[in-house]
């Protein structure tokens, strides 16, 4: 098991390295960093001066190697727009985004697991159809639109919740629901499908033949087997959550990494973008690894492989 984790960690490092390289080259191809630093309407000589001063006239590969070397030493560079070091800027925003991610994932699971189980146990009944309707709406409704509907209802009409900001816990309620509802349908459909398959398995009949109460049969014997694919999906959905948080944080002016990413793209703040991309990719790889470890714990047959 430890060997397996170490192997996966090694792989994670390689993935992060590849992502950082791709991001670096893509960002450099998307615009001239020298123009961004020199500012709008700068003279050609100034731009050339900036290019030479920052070493931007060297080959991209050399620049990437320099960036990588600096990053590995813990020097993440300086923001072009904020004029401060990137590291404190990014890390100050990270907790908000992580909190939003965890809250929305928790919300999504809290909604989708009971709904998925109910839909499977009462398959083809009105409960199942209602769950399907909730899922379809969640999948079809763009999350920014759903977020605006929430704002209209809870902030403007009912005046229950603040429109934007990230000062109190109340500021997190609507972003959590908007982002969680965005990923919940996939979980729900997967749990429903998994539960329906598992409930017809021979070992469920064995469990019933033992005289176990229905809740033990469903929650101990069936759900444990049905959630295995859900854990794998969780990692993928977290990727969606991180992507989705750019939109949601911008709508609710939630002071997180997503909002910072939006700002740095707007201001062509390459060093910040580069670090955000790297950070998110590392997070994503680590989450995938955590999902794999959780799966190995849930399904003993995977542990051997």
């Amino acid at each position: 098991m430890i060997g397996y984790i170490l192997k996966r960690l090694g792989l994670a490092v390689l993935v992060a390295l590849a992502v950082s390289a791709i991001a670096f080259f893509l960002l450099r191809m998307s615009g001239d960093i020298a123009i961004a630093i020199a500012g709008e309407g700068a003279r050609q000589e100034d731009i050339e001066l900036v290019r030479r001063t920052y070493g931007l006239d060297r080959p991209l590969l050399v620049q990437y190697a320099e960036w990588l070397w600096n990053t590995l030493r813990g020097d993440f560079g300086t923001s072009i727009y904020f004029k401060t070091a990137v590291a404190p800027l990014v890390f100050a925003k990270l907790p908000t985004t992580l909190l939003l991610g965890v809250l929305s994932l928790g919300f999504a699971l809290l909604v989708s697991i009971p709904l998925g189980v109910l839909a499977a146990v009462y398959a083809n009944s009105w409960i199942d159809r209602l769950a399907l309707a909730i899922a379809v709406v969640g999948q079809a409704l763009p999350n920014f639109f759903f977020a605006l509907l929430l704002v209209m209802l809870f902030s403007i009409t009912l005046r229950w919740l603040p429109v934007s900001g990230s000062k109190t816990w109340a500021h997190f309620i609507m972003p959590t629901i908007a982002l969680g509802y965005y990923v919940a349908p996939a979980f729900m459909r997967l749990i429903r499908a998994g539960m329906i398959e598992v409930l017809s398995a021979d070992y469920i009949r064995t469990a019933r033949a033992k005289g176990l109460p229905t809740r033990t049969v469903i929650f101990k014997h069936a759900l444990r087997n049905a959630v295995v694919p859900v854990v794998a999906l969780t990692a993928v959905q977290l990727g969606f959550l991180l992507g989705g948080s750019v939109v949601i944080e911008t709508i609710f002016a939630l002071d997180g990494l997503g909002y910072l990413a939006y700002q740095s793209i707007t201001y062509k703040d390459f060093p910040v973008m580069q670090v955000i991309v790297l950070l998110l990719s590392v997070l994503y790889v680590l989450l995938t690894l955590a999902a794999d470890i959780a799966n190995a714990w849930l399904d003993p047959r995977i542990r051997v492989a």
Partner: protein, 327 residues
């Protein structure tokens, strides 16, 4: 009635209907039998004759689409058709248990053998984890599993098919049941393992005085271990009687056909053709009238279009045929 206290399972007029897109499938049609303490009743017949549906109906494990009706379905004198869900749950896995035919899939892959062995015992006997594990180790030893204590921590995928079936048997015996229903417990296993498992079942049954319903299509097994045999065809019991009487003097043409199909060393020519019953089992969808075997029966007459009478001899040998003796 002193003798009735010995009757562990009483099935009277049991029918199972399954709703299918093509109409109602009459999987089990008005069957009756009973099993006494320490007795082995073998239910034989070909695939789809209703053997498994009968056992699932007794255990209240029928699929949702299947509906059962019975004049009386009683366990140890208690009418199961009137028992509620919680009463059924209190009985099954406890005083009546079942061994399934799929050792590879009948155990939950996510839990250890030990976990799955102890849960029914802890639930029904309100025993502690330690007591239940001790019982599990004892029974695993009894079904011939070495290093039983270490096996408790293993998962089903780490065991062979033969071992899993032994675990299933031990699991069914955990609470010391009065009734054991074994649905083709050896079908999925190698022939050598089959013999071991059967011997084991018979030994345990004799030792513990369990009433056993063994479902099989293997007449060789039946001849060796059954006290009484019920032959099922197209959802009905067409013949039932003491094992010796049924094998020596089968009365129903279907039973005669089945017995004729058994290859006998010395009598069946090597390389020669084995016996076959011509034709196929009739569809059980919709109304089934008259004798269901008539289309395959060499002795059928127009009278077979009506429901055949049930005939009975003094030793409790019963069969459903217009003929007194088809031989």
């Amino acid at each position: 009635m002193a003798h009735s206290s010995d009757i562990v399972l009483e099935v009277d007029g049991l029918s199972v209907d399954i709703a299918t897109p093509g109409g109602t499938l009459h999987a089990v049609r008005d069957i009756s039998f009973s099993v006494k303490r320490g007795e082995t009743l073998c239910l034989v017949g070909e695939s789809g004759c209703g053997k498994s549906m009968t056992s699932l109906a007794i255990m209240d494990l029928l699929p949702k689409a299947a509906k059962k009706t019975a004049r009386r379905l009683a366990f140890a004198g208690e009418d199961l058709s009137r028992a509620g869900r919680s009463r059924i749950n209190a009985l099954r896995g406890n005083r009546m248990s079942m061994i399934f035919q799929e050792p590879m899939t009948a155990l939950n892959p996510a839990y250890t053998i030990g976990n799955q062995l102890v849960e029914a015992y802890r639930l029904h006997k309100r025993a502690s984890e330690a007591e239940a594990r001790e019982r599990a180790v004892f029974l695993l030893g009894k079904v011939g599993i070495a290093n039983a204590a270490e096996r408790l921590g293993q998962y089903p995928h780490q065991l062979s098919g033969g071992l899993r079936q032994r675990v299933m048997i031990a699991m069914a015996l955990m609470c010391g049941p009065e009734l054991l229903i074994a649905d083709e417990p050896t079908t999925a296993l190698d022939v050598t393992i089959q013999a071991q498992i059967l011997r084991l079942l018979v030994d345990l049954q004799n030792e513990l005085g369990i009433a056993m319903v063994l479902i099989t299509h293997d007449l060789g097994i039946v001849a060796r271990i059954a006290d009484r045999v019920a032959v099922m065809y197209a959802g009905q019991i067409v013949e039932e009687g003491p094992t010796a009487s049924l094998f020596n003097a089968p009365r129903h043409p279907y039973t005669q056909g089945l017995i004729a199909c058994i290859p006998v060393p010395g009598r069946t020519e090597p390389g020669g053709r084995l016996g076959v019953i011509p034709g196929v089992v009739p569809s059980l969808v919709g109304e089934v009238r008259g004798c269901s075997f008539r289309d395959r029966c060499g002795k059928a007459t127009p009278a077979c279009l009506d429901a055949p009478p049930v005939r009975e001899t003094a030793d409790g040998h019963r069969w459903r045929c217009i003929l007194e003796n088809a031989a």
